[in-house]
Amino acid sequence: MTPLYILPLQTAPEVIDRIPSGYSNFVIPFVVGISFMLIWLTVGLFRLMAKIPARDRRRLWKSFFIPKIALKNIRDLFCDCLFHTKIWKRKPLLGYMHSAIAFGWFMLIVLGHLEVALFVPKHLAWTDGGLFYPIFYRFFVWINPGHVSLRGWFFFFLMDFFLLYVLTGVGMAIFKRFRSIVLGMRHTTKPSLADRIALYSLWLIFPLRLLAESFTADLSGGSFLTVPVNMLWHWIFGNNLYFMPVWWAYSICLGLFFAAMPFSRYMHILTEVLWILLRNAGLQPSHPRKGVAEAEIYACSSCGLCLDACPMNVQKKNLKYSSVYFIRFLRRHNEKKINDIADKCLMCDKCHALCPVGVDAPALRRAQRATVNDSLCYDYSYLQNRVPAPEANDIVNVATGISDAPEVMYFAGCMTHLTPRIIKSVEKVFKAASVNYVFADRDGGICCGRPLMLAGKTSAARETISANRKMILDSGCRTLVLSCPICYKIFKDEYNLKGIEVLHYTQYIKRLVEQGRLKLSSCDERLVYHDPCELGRGCGVYEEPRKVLSQVGTLVPAAKEGDESICCGGSLGSLTLDARDRAKITESSLVNLVANNPQTIVTACPLCLMTFSGPALDTVSHNSGEEATDVKVKDFAEVISQRV
Amino acid sequence: MIYEGKQKIWSDYQKDIPDDHYFYVRSCIRQSFFPASEAAFLKITRQELGKDIFETEHHTTCGGIAYHSDTIPQETAMTIIARQFALMAKYGYENYVCSCITSFGLYCETMETWREFPELEAKVRENLWKTCKLEFAKPKVLVHASDLIYKYRNLIAAQAKHKLVNVHTGRPLRAVEHIGCHYSKMFPSKGVGGAEYPYVLVGMIEAWGGEIIDYPERRHCCGFGFRQYLVKGNRGYSLSNTHKKFESMEPYQPDLIITNCPGCPYFLDRWQYVIAESTGKTYGENGHGIPVLTYEEVAGLVLGYDPWDLGLQTHQVGPEPLLDKMGIEYDPARKFLGKDGKDIGRPESCMYLK
């Protein structure tokens, strides 16, 4: 076959191919380093792929050819890997830093190769140093005085420009090590040994590159950055500059960096690519360490954004339980620590929501818990026959069958049964809107299975799910309304109730209001809405409750809202967090809510309601001055029912 | 164990036992299974102690077992008891001596109830008059037959032919005492030595040269439990409770068990047989059981009566090891002979219990 085009192999007139062999000893460190890394990567990649179930692998290949996913891949690769848009959005300075290093370096490499392609194309060939030549291009060629074209100057400029760009990034990175808060991070990760080696060599690479290129700038060309520096050297050292040492140093640093890379956080630079592909293909980790999970944990850049995100970290002692360290120990296969950390987490999903590369640490934690807890003994045989189908008097004429079966089934769930005021309110609202509903678990049903899921007792959870599922499908209702986000999450994700719409009562009440079935009176009460983890980050329900609430009162914002909201501390996610530590979290969560002195805190989760109503409330009230001393905690339904 | 501590308690629980003129009432179970014991008792009180003790053929059961098996109403039992009292009065006695612990307990309970609820006593008087044309007088003193032997234990010791001492080693024999539950558990003050550390049998053993041993389950019931034994389906209860006692006394290696309740010796004796035959376990030395004797039998042996006259052959657990230790001569050949040497065969031997 004939190639699309053939490179013009002769050197362009602008440059002198100083060393035709295209080789010099100083490249050895770099070559060794990068070869080691490449071999390591390829082997790793194959091992990883092997661990992924065949079905998933096929799914992955297919995904490349599905336009929608392919496009998403490209967008994510640029936005996440190079521009770090996620970080930009949240912390611009930090975003700049990351993108400067990532994108800047990427451009240096690309441009380097372009130059070679344009001026000494034959050296792109592996045999002629293709592996390293483009990296050290400036060393191997001298400009041909008098022949330098605009094209050349343009490249000189670009190269210097991006080098400067990177250097500013590196500068910030170094600064961040010492004063992270300025870049908006209260806590930063403690680097491991490999991290340090890679980190310091990374810091050195670009200053050394500047050094090296500036030493040769008068011979091999340069621009606004390298040329002046070159003059400086001449002014200091006189005419003939001995430039070998700096190129050696530069090569050594590169070599070191690549050699350390596989063992350091910088692995993420490359793994991230794979992770994005897997993620977008919709693959889920089946094991906390193998296959997809491996890509995921190596995609973590240990940037430490999750440290500040984690609500547990109101107490410094809890830092060690943050996702970044969980993933680090997963890499190191430190079982004891892995389990401790996995069990401690509240599963509020905030670290996941804020992660620049979308690493789903909670999912990994759940998988980890499953490895221990799923095998624990249990016996749910009683569920088969014992789950009570809703009582006849609850259903509006069952006799005539599905057709006039109630439109709505209300499932309160375990926690709601501990907060009768929610049940009362919901029923009041339903009656006010004359909703034809059936109360599935009026006199106690069984658990939704979410708590079991969170605890990693997956198969046990499946049993409760199927029991509930049967009961719901038998009832013949078309809409299922839940007052507990914990239930809602699992009913939505795991139950697959064909033909039944699953709604949280905040959503359903909003609908009732929009349909005009529910008339609400307004008042000037200052309300603040707390986003329950499972409802907000868990199911993406942020707007509905706010829309309705803004109709009945003045909605004031909390300090942090939406996917930034702080878990109430009552979460069923944590297995080992004790009451004291939870109280601390509750306090911080409340402090966050009362930032704008609301009169009432409104939540839409029985668990939050109970947690907030506890002793923590007083402490906060007292702390936050006069006007907030009598802040009340109410449930969404409660507030609404008082306004119908 | 601190002996002085017990002595203090014993001194707190002394009861007055009349010196003479007793009206004797038999026990259903004693008569059925240990007729010789009651015979021995009468012989001792009459001949050895020279007391006047009267028995009439007209007295009957007190109905205790039926009452405690919940087959007759309380009023019925009380009226039967009233009838017994009436007989005593009729024959001019006022010291009531009963051979049965269940009866003893029931008499105590009845009189206590009458004290608290006089209307009930009146009702019973009426019943008795209606049915038997009898008037009753409550006994001046109510004692159990073992109380009498206790009272005269030292006199008996004085006439002793044998002591409760191992003639080979010279050591006192180690005796376990078992008191019938209804002796003092309901009314501690009614029993010699009270409910926790009854002295009635301990006193005998000590007086006759033996050494009493106190073991953890001493106070525990023998397991009769009335309906719990009488109905076959319930006998596991009875057996298990006795088993518990034997397991508890085993480490003390007792030489004999002495009892003052009619039923208990039967159960402590027969359940050893059942345990042996159904599990192979025996509690005495080399395959023997622990001999279980009534206090009358022990007294009889001490006074030198012939073991076969005392009816020791009707125990399933052979008394021979004890007799040997006490140095009592006996003729094995005569063990199972009838009156005047009549041959009436002998029981088949057991599989495990010697």
Partner: protein, 231 residues
């Protein structure tokens, strides 16, 4: 106040036996039945003093009240001067009065107990009568009893007994006039009535279970459901 509780309170054994219980458990701690049956006398006393009609009725129909051995060890120890043993007797009495006893396996046993014991008393004046104590029905009585049974007269003669003889002595024949008096006492004080009541209830139950009286008697004499025993 509840009906059943009032009926119970008529029983002198309850009047004597029940003061306020503090649920301390001393009774259960030393109860011979509590160790081998699903039995807790403390709970029984607690139920009775709760005066909860429903609970009391359940109790009267239950197996529970039939586990007690009436050794009265509980009476010694109760710090509140209760007598759980007497309370159980009162409960049994009422359960029989109301015919509830046949509802439980253990309760049903009253049929055979009443039949045999009352017969012994009325026929002989004794609760236990050796000629009616057969080795076949009492294998635990041992080889020695097997032998005695065969030679009862000789054995009693040898041991100075007076089996069925005139005058006083062990197992003498009690004169007829005395037995007649016993009979009259039975009639007057409700024992006879009780016997008939129990028999009638037994027959009803037997019919219900599709058994003849003999089969029924045999069954209740030997049956023992493992559910009575503690795990």
């Amino acid at each position: 106040m509840g009906r059943l509780y009032d009926l119970l309170m008529k029983d002198y054994r309850l009047k004597e036996g029940l003061n306020a219980c503090i649920n301390c458990g001393t009774c259960t701690a030393i109860c011979p039945a509590a160790e081998f049956y699903r039995y807790d006398p403390r709970k029984i006393v607690d139920i009775v003093q709760s005066k909860d009609e429903e609970e009391i009725e359940k109790l009267l129909k239950s197996e529970t009240i039939w586990y007690c051995g009436e050794c009265m060890s509980c009476v010694t120890r109760c710090p509140r001067k209760n007598a759980p043993g007497l309370i159980v007797m009162a409960l049994r009495n009422l359960s029989i009065e109301l015919g509830y006893f046949v509802e439980s396996e253990k309760g049903r046993q009253q049929c055979i107990l009443t039949k045999d014991l009352c017969a012994n008393i009325l026929d002989y004046g004794y609760c236990v009568y050796p000629r009616r104590f057969d080795y076949a029905g009492h294998p635990e009585a041992g080889r020695v009893w097997e032998w005695e049974e065969k030679h009862l007269d000789d054995v009693f003669e040898r041991l100075g007994g007076n089996l069925d003889g005139g005058g006083p002595g062990a197992m003498r024949r009690i004169p007829q006039e005395d037995l007649d008096e016993l009979k009259r006492i039975f009639d007057e004080t409700g024992a006879t009535e009780r016997m008939e009541k129990v028999r009638a209830a037994g027959l009803r139950k037997a019919a219900e279970m599709g058994l003849t009286e003999e089969e029924f008697m045999q069954k209740i004499y030997t049956d023992s459901d493992p559910k009575h025993l503690n795990r």
